[in-house]
């Protein structure tokens, strides 16, 4: 193990390590703690510059009430779910299929298609922006949730294919061969053998895509204009313009935007990390 386990170190080191950990954590989280403290304050504290001391009033709930009553926050949150969940399902479903095709069949264009997916996944968004916006417009889907979801599904399929293909490739090939000799059709190999085995990969991709799409800001700005379809990231940005000095409300709104991905991460931590690290372990 590296570094040497702290338990094998002198007692004094053990104690100082245990003291150092919470201190460094507190320093690391200062920005987040700052915004949480701000969200419970009233305007009075903020104009007086009382930001680190005791709040003179505890106003978290009244701030939240303010945000929900005076802004379309609730509709932003609902839109975020309406965009995120279909994208998650769509991209994972498509990439199970593409991943299976690229992992278990040998054909000429195989690697070329695989690398096309990977390369497309890394391009800067700006090179896609104008044509995608045009295309969405021409399909009559500009400023709609559907238009945004379609693009997200297409783009995320690149990343998901990379992940799925590598995952399925690592499954023992003998399983498929044995099934083929038994006369199982290719479709049944996919549905009865591959799909059940890819469950961990599906879980990992679902949490990752949820977080990516929930946090997307760029495409929401490019493809959505009105509040009726705006997700919470774009909504926060427009509130940011309106509430120049109402940081207590902005903080409360930001916390609302942060909660769903944070919950998702805590529930599915293991899968989330497995997804992010891709194969950092095997290379």
């Amino acid at each position: 193990m590296f570094p040497i386990p702290i338990q094998k170190r002198p007692f004094i080191n053990q104690i100082s390590y245990r003291i150092l950990i919470p201190i460094s954590l507190a320093i690391w989280l200062i920005p987040l703690i700052g915004i949480m403290l701000t969200s419970i304050r009233g305007l009075g504290d903020i104009t007086q510059g009382n930001l680190w001391g005791m709040p003179s009033e505890f106003l978290l709930f009244s701030n939240l009430k303010d945000v929900f009553q005076n802004t379309p926050m609730l509709s932003y949150i609902i839109n975020s779910f309406k965009i995120t969940i279909p994208t998650m399902i769509g991209a994972v479903a498509l990439s199970c299929m593409t991943g299976f095709a690229l992992a278990s069949y040998k054909f000429k264009a195989n690697l070329f298609i695989f690398f096309t997916f990977i390369a497309g996944n890394f391009v800067p968004f700006q090179i896609l922006m104008i044509p995608v916006r045009d295309l969405t417009y021409q399909m009559g889907l500009y400023d709609t949730v559907t238009g945004l979801v379609l693009f997200h599904v297409a783009f995320q399929t690149g990343f998901c294919t990379l992940f799925m293909r590598n995952f399925i490739k690592a499954l023992p090939n003998e399983l498929f061969e044995a099934a083929r000799i038994d006369g199982t059709s290719e479709f049944n190999i996919f549905f009865k053998i591959v799909l059940p085995l890819t469950r961990p990969a599906i879980a990992a991709l679902s949490v990752l895509i949820f977080t990516f799409i929930w946090n997307d800001f760029f495409w929401a700005t490019v493809l959505i204009q009105g509040h009726h379809a705006m997700p919470i990231t774009a909504g926060l940005k427009s509130l940011n313009g309106q509430w120049i000095s109402a940081y207590h409300l902005l903080s409360a709104g930001s916390i609302m935007a942060a909660i769903p991905p944070v919950i998702m991460f805590f529930l599915m931590q293991k899968h989330f990390i497995a997804g992010l690290t891709l194969g950092a372990s095997k290379g």
Binding site: W28, F122, L128, P131, A258, L276
Partner: protein, 305 residues
């Protein structure tokens, strides 16, 4: 005359013969089609648009490379390019800092799992929220206020200072990136080969020499991935700039990604052709890294086959 049995028999035997060959294409087609329409075709279309003068509505005029020639004389283009370079250089710090944090946290004490997750927190949260947090953080009347008073810089607003605003945004941008690199390295440290380390320790390797000669080589896959995602993250920097300064003051914090957006889709005009030319430059820069990444993957694929 063929009866229906023969037909279905023939059909199924044709399918049986070609099943192996056709199945991958059946499985590929929906995903691949969507990807071609929404990702691959737009790249080429953008490259074409960069040769046009077009406001998105009236008929486009073909102008050849004149958009690119105009770029060469555009002061804001150079400012954005320089800022991208700053992002790239400073963002790389996220890799060693992430490694340091990972080593610091790679212990088994009570509650360490929760502590690691809390360290990872900034990455899970939207960049929009991180941007708002830091804008508030930097506000001289905000969170950092008391500290500024303490060091005698009362009322200093870094985001309004054209010389330093970019660094303020980069600092905010690095914050989640460090968390990402940390998690990559934590996974890497978890998968170290214990025998090699013990053997190294037997041979008297300690501290830095152990780290350099035995640990770091084993962490290479993690390092590779960390560098790739950090480079790409730095070139994709858009959200933070949009939230924190919108390119200001006086364009001093612009980056190519944001400048392109501003040129093509904001109140500054709808110059699709010129915007696409900026995007094409960004794309070319990124392509080097993408090709490098793909080359590496291709090598390991060849080994695997």
């Amino acid at each position: 005359m063929l009866n229906s049995d023969t037909i279905s028999y023939r059909k199924s035997s044709w399918w049986k013969l070609n099943q192996q060959r056709l199945t991958p294409w059946i499985f590929l087609s929906p995903g691949l089609l969507l990807f071609l329409v929404y990702v691959i075709w737009p790249i080429f279309n953008s490259l074409y648009i960069s040769l046009l003068q077009w406001d998105g509505l009236s008929p486009a005029i073909y102008v050849g490379i004149s958009n690119y020639i105009e770029l060469l004389d555009d002061e804001y283009f150079y400012i954005s390019l320089m800022n991208n370079l700053k992002w790239l250089i400073f963002f790389m710090l996220a890799v060693p800092i992430g490694l340091g944090l990972a080593i610091f946290l790679n212990q088994t004490i009570f509650g360490i799992r929760l502590i690691k997750s809390l360290f990872f927190f900034p990455f899970v949260i939207s960049q929009v929220v991180i941007g708002i947090i830091f804008a508030w953080f930097y506000n001289p009347r905000g969170v950092i206020g008391p500290f500024l008073d303490f060091i005698g810089l009362s009322n200093y607003a870094i985001l309004a200072d054209e010389n330093f605003a970019t660094y303020g945004i980069i600092f905010a941008g690095i914050y989640p990136q460090i968390a990402y690199c940390m998690i990559l390295y934590l996974t890497g440290l978890n998968n170290l080969n214990t025998d090699q380390i013990e053997a190294g320790r037997m041979d008297g390797a300690k501290g830095f020499s152990l780290f350099k000669n035995i640990i770091l080589p084993q962490l290479r896959p993690a390092t590779f991935l960390a560098i790739v995602v950090t480079v790409i993250g730095s070139l994709r920097s858009f959200d933070m700039v949009a939230i924190m300064t919108q390119g200001g003051p006086w364009g001093s914090t612009n980056v190519l990604a944001y400048y392109m957006f501003e040129t093509a889709l904001s109140e500054y005009g709808y110059r699709m052709g010129y915007g696409s030319a900026i995007a094409a430059v960004l794309f070319t820069i990124m392509m080097f890294y993408i090709l490098f990444f793909i080359y590496r993957m291709y090598q390991s694929e060849k080994k695997g086959l």
